[in-house]
Amino acid sequence: MANTQALCTSFKREILNGIHALGTSVVRAGTTPDSFKAALYLASATINAGTTAYTVTGEVSGTNYSAGGVDLTGSPDWIAPDISGTTAFSTPTNSIVFTNVTLGTAFDAVLIYNSTQGDKAVSVHTFGSQTITAGNFTLTMPTNDATTGLLRIA
């Protein structure tokens, strides 16, 4: 047998489960998963890898859209992190739906953020520019696996 240098695959999943604290962490009352939200951003906004938390700057506004967006609706919000090969992955449990909204200014991004932990940013996902009028905007999740899961640590 021989030793192999690697970032342990189990560590990648444990990061998603909030197990390891290499720096200052948070006090947790228990093991309950955090709650997350999704907010939409105008095509003119600047939401990217440098985004650290939810911001109202550049967020869409319109009929039946509340600032901050919508709650992720799963129980829990994310499918339990899993590993396949050397990749850890997870995906929101349910589609994200903005119901009966009118968003007349073009938007093209969604920010998923952790509303339990000070609205800290998780991920930004972009798509073709849209407007919505008296209708629904639905974001359906990809298949949760090591190839297409929404969040992956390879």
């Binding site: 095509a43 050397t86 073709g128 209708g135 905007f137 969040l151």
Partner: protein
Amino acid sequence: MAQVNTIHGLMDESQLMKLPGLVDNDNEHTSTVEYCLLNCPGDAHKTGVPDSVSHFCNLHVHRSAHVTLKKAVTAEGVAASFA
């Protein structure tokens, strides 16, 4: 006939012109449905050229979109060597 929620309230689909759309690329699979009033005077109907990248006709009375994300965000995990 189905009812459609519009900026004018619920309308019978027979009173509307339905404009479905579909985008399928590496990033997403998106289906859209846009409704205009019958005999909508919008330029897009005359020219066939969308008024915007975000919708077909500026005068639409309903628009919904269903986006299926394909491209994930991936972080590469690395255990580097000591100097």
